[in-house]
Symmetry: C2
Subunit: 670 residues, 2 copies
């Protein structure tokens, strides 16, 4: 019998699911049991196919629903006991002989399988009490900013650094190439992701039609992803009733508009029964929205929610709303305030199946931002927190920058005494990452950027997890049988890479200072006189944005206690966010004891030195892994080092020329 499993398409990197990840399981005897069988449970087939593939490879055995008393001593029993939507499972080894995974829902069974794979030999050792494992966050989602048609400026994947789209090629869904999509779904399920939005939140002309006459293509992708329990979501344009339906308006309070959405949504669910819902970027950066009709974001979102409610669909309504036509001369306007100012007054007005999707920081995925004050400020609204796996501002997958520690800091942050960000997101909302994946053979361009995708999925499952442990998991799976030297080397290269990146780029939380448009490489004044609201206000005396209540834009006052107070004063504001909250002189002394200007010089020299060291470590790992992977990373390290030096020298030179203060250590600045 040919293996029914999706064999990884030729030339694709297996990422964290190389065959060896299933060696322990594949060499054992496994029973798959579906007690109380009713309805259909296609994921049981997937689980079976996975195990069958593993045992074929490693010499074990798999049995399904045997007659009672077959007498075989199983090493592993995977049992589905019901038809619930639960994603959790119970795993134990009470008798010291048979490991059991029991789930009441088919997704739970699948996650249980991958859990056993992650445990490796440990799954079959010793004796341990049953443990309940279940995701803390219900929706663990990736948003793909993929265009169907290649956009003349933004390319096929907006802010994509891993080739073209995984879903769309030559102007349509990949069709026979969907094997790659299925393999992708498998990787996602193995790290716990359960939802994918398959197109860009900036919905262009061709992509608008996915909702209606091109829904069959979405359905194709959805079937491929559904093999691994992934729900499909679609980004839609708020103007759809006009551009697709020919209506004269898209006013959310217009009954004809409501009826149009109801009918369109009915057709979507006919095509895709398990469809997840809509993602909407409205009244933001030029996208249409309810403002055109004098309606609120709640009016807009609730209208879509009403269309989705009969099918238990969800609206992900993005809170990334601000004035991108700001006058840089006007220091009273503060982009950081915008999401809070727009949305907090609407708390309690959103329908139950609306999820407000909030970027983790108030700006736009800079390497360092405070947590958005909107998170925690809308207790009567479902909240999804959005992070960016694609490295738009963190090296664009040419630089190593493992974002686990940053995301973990965000998720552990407590907006006030009480829940952490992770707990708030878990409470009826979700965690969302902008995908870093494309049709690149390594999936993510930079092979080590796979660790970001994996870590995101696992943090979404368990936001309180120690990111270092997740990194070890990723290393263990991706590099089976790695020597300790390789493990140590990978840790050395990845562990501190986010802080290294922070060091050699924009200092002390001020952000930006990137080349406009494409956002790669330094340009200190690149956004300083622009309409985008992203300023540093550096002059010959000092730098930073005064966002205090007392003398600035008042943004600090959007936080609850204790943070409003902490951020209000430069005396209590954490160093790493000082310039985000305060304009200070170059000789201001940080808590670290250094002046701002010397901190800038020191961190930039340190950051480059750290890249140099990481590059050497990487070089020393040659021969310990697949040569293609080693070479790809080695080549990217050359570019990272070049770029990091450029950052160092431009930032340092800019501030030396402006401040006139030399480096205390006399290092070269130009």
């Amino acid at each position: 019998m040919p293996l029914p499993l999706p064999v990884l398409p030729e030339g694709l990197d297996p990422a964290w699911l190389p065959p060896e990840a299933f060696r322990s399981l594949g060499s054992r005897r496994t029973l798959i049991r579906w007690s109380g069988r009713r309805g259909s449970a296609p994921l049981v087939e997937t689980v079976h196919d996975e195990v069958a593939d593993a045992v074929a490879r490693f010499g074990g055995r798999v049995v399904r629903d045997p007659e009672p008393g077959d007498g075989i001593p199983y090493d592993l029993v995977l049992e589905l006991t019901g038809a619930s939507g639960d994603e959790g499972f119970v795993c134990g080894r009470e008798d010291g002989t048979t490991t059991t995974v029991t789930a009441s829902g088919q997704r739970g069974l699948l996650y249980g399988l991958f859990h056993v794979a992650r445990l490796g030999e440990d799954a079959f050792r010793g004796e341990w009490a049953p443990e309940v494992l279940q995701p803390a966050v219900a929706v663990r989602m990736l948003d793909h900013w993929d265009n169907v048609a290649v956009h003349p400026v933004m390319g096929q994947v907006e802010r994509g650094y891993a080739g073209g789209s995984l879903f769309w090629a030559d102007g349509r869904a990949r069709g026979e190439l969907l094997g790659r999509v299925r393999a992708y779904g498998r990787l996602l399920a193995a790290c716990g992701i359960n939802a994918v939005a398959v197109n860009n939140v900036n919905v262009h002309e061709a992509e608008a039609h996915l909702l209606t006459d091109r829904i069959a293509e979405v359905a194709e992708i959805s079937r491929a992803l559904g093999r691994y329990g992934i729900r499909t979501h679609l980004s839609v344009t708020f103007a759809a009733p006009m551009v697709l339906g020919g209506l004269p308006s898209a006013d959310p309070l217009d009954e004809a508009v409501q009826a149009w959405w109801a009918e369109a949504t009915e057709r979507v669910y006919k095509a895709i029964p398990g469809f997840g819902g809509y993602v909407v970027k409205a009244d933001s950066e030029g996208q249409p929205g309810p403002f055109a009709y004098g309606r609120s974001h709640a009016d807009g979102a609730n209208m879509l929610a009403a269309a989705l409610a009969p099918y238990n669909g969800t609206v992900h309504w993005r809170a990334f709303v601000y004035n991108h036509r700001q006058d840089w001369r006007d220091r009273a306007t503060d982009r950081a305030r915008a999401a809070y100012d727009h949305f907090v007054p609407l708390d309690g007005h959103f329908a139950p199946n609306v999820v407000l999707q909030v970027k983790h920081g108030p700006m736009d995925f800079q390497v360092r931002e405070p947590v958005s004050p909107l998170i925690g400020a809308m207790p009567r609204t479902r909240l999804a927190v959005e992070v960016q796996a694609t490295q738009e501002y963190t090296g664009q997958q040419r630089h190593v920058c493992w974002l686990g520690p940053m995301w973990s800091e965000v998720l552990r942050f407590r907006p006030e005494a009480g829940s952490s960000v992770g707990e708030l997101a878990a409470h009826g909302g979700g965690l969302v990452a902008v995908s870093n994946v494309g049709d690149d053979p390594f999936w993510t361009g930079h092979p080590l950027a796979q660790a970001n995708l994996y870590t995101f999925g696992r943090l979404a499952w368990q936001p309180g997890a120690d990111p270092g442990r997740l990194l070890d998991e990723w290393i263990g799976l991706t590099f089976p049988d790695a020597s300790q030297r390789l493990v140590d080397g990978l840790r050395a290269v990845l562990d501190g890479s986010w802080r290294t990146y922070e060091k050699y780029t924009a200092p002390l939380g001020v952000g930006w200072m990137v080349q406009p448009g494409h956002h790669y490489g330094p340009s200190v004044d690149g956004y300083e006189y622009s309409p985008w609201g992203t300023y540093h206000f550096a002059d010959r005396d000092g730098i930073g944005v005064d966002r205090s209540v007392a003398t600035g834009t008042g943004y600090a006052g959007q936080y609850a206690k204790p943070w409003a107070g902490v951020y209000e004063s430069p005396d209590t504001c954490p160093d790493e966010l000082l310039l985000f909250f305060h304009h200070v002189s170059y000789d201001h002394v940080l808590h670290s004891g250094k002046t701002v200007i010397q901190h800038i010089y020191d961190t930039h020299f340190e950051g480059v030195a750290e890249v140099e060291r990481a590059r050497e470590v990487w070089a020393s790992l040659a021969g310990l892994m697949d040569p293609a992977r080693h070479a790809r990373v080695a080549e990217r390290f050359e570019e990272q080092l070049r770029s990091a030096r450029e950052w160092r020298d431009q930032i340092n030179s800019y501030f030396l020329r402006k401040s006139g203060v030399g480096d205390a250590h006399g290092r070269p600045i130009y």
Copy 2:
């Protein structure tokens, strides 16, 4: 008999040849005589068609080569006496009754016709002795930076601000639309231009083939232009023998390469008998060239010259050669030096049919540059001086910027005691402008940018001409029957527009400070840390590039006396070039008596005020011209004013923040 003349294609602006430009001539009796008729003289047909069109419109009469003694008293006799290549003619009115134009070559007859049209009624008044009119410069050329295929970054016309290409559409020569090209040739002939290069000096893949398998398309264009005596030139890639001929090398000393060019050129001349020659950008900004084979520019140019020599064709070899991968940290390298350093050692090495085409300034068409020291430094080399009619750095045809005064300053400049730049260009070389024309209905995007094209042509004919007089000519032709108020208004808007533009953009000759890539709008540091070699070195104390011999890059020493001395010291360097040659403190006092910093503030406020006044003047001219033309300019004035204010505020804010010196008049700076 239907008029054989090219009627202006529907919807196209007649520019400086509205029907009324021929009213005086068209209402007279004209004899066209071709004495000593031999060979063919197609331009006599063109002259006849022009006059026939005019008399049909205005009631005069035209007669060709009448039998002796027909007894008609002619008002105008246009006589071709030979078949020379001369472009001059003699025009007089000795008997006070008949105006005569006599030319020994057919081009001269055509230019004589346009001369009579320019004179208007004055051509038929009084009694005056015959005057010889002939161009000072033999080659008066426009280079079109047009791509056949639309370039993904640069668009169809590189640095084009007037729509798509006039020559190429939908990936091929315009074919049946060549009526527009013929009309274009007519406009060019009427201002004296006699050569056009029909494609971009950056020769991309599709365009490379124009030389060989697509030469028929060039021939089509050439025939359309030839109707008005315009020669066609082609930009070619130095790598042609490889990319088109499949040879393993393009080494200019390789006999196979030489043979390839000889054969290719033979085929070109078979297709286009009057072909002008090749334009080459080699070893510059990534274009291939002889350096790859260890050969010199002279080797490269002479190889092409040998292929062209049998047909009297010319190589225009561009001297725009510099390192565009410069390290901004290295202040010893100076892009301004590059052309001189590369080419002066080659003086005397170029073949007689090579023309070295030198940009008028050492950098790249900034609003203010010194004259290139290469001009005058190669007495044994034919020289063409290149200016830029397309307003890449001077407002991109959204701003009014009449460049006549700038070009005139350049042409009158005397590199040393002796010849002016105009005279040097006249001496066996030519004047070349990068075209500002596209398929826009007004030809040049901004209707007033037509004045730049016209002025260039007339200055190329007579480099010493007073540009103000040429502007009056242009106004007289373009706006026939203009009231004095309109004439005064047009002069007020155009006359000082170059200096106005200079005022509100980069100060004191420092240049650049533009947005990288597209070059529109301010970005003070946009090129400051880039590899392009275009720096200002502003710090908190001062600004400018030290190009002195004593303490700087030595560039000033490339000039002959007296300029080497004049530029060497800030005491003698003209204010408008101070920051090009010297790094000075913000409180340095200019010859004007102002400090550098106060000069920056003052000129930027003045420049914007001047735009505001010009905009008002323009508004007052509504009703005095074609409404479409008025509206187009009025709309562009809105953008010019917005942009000028942006320049003012960004430049002033940048320098206030850096210098800490406030404006003496307390005006708003941010």
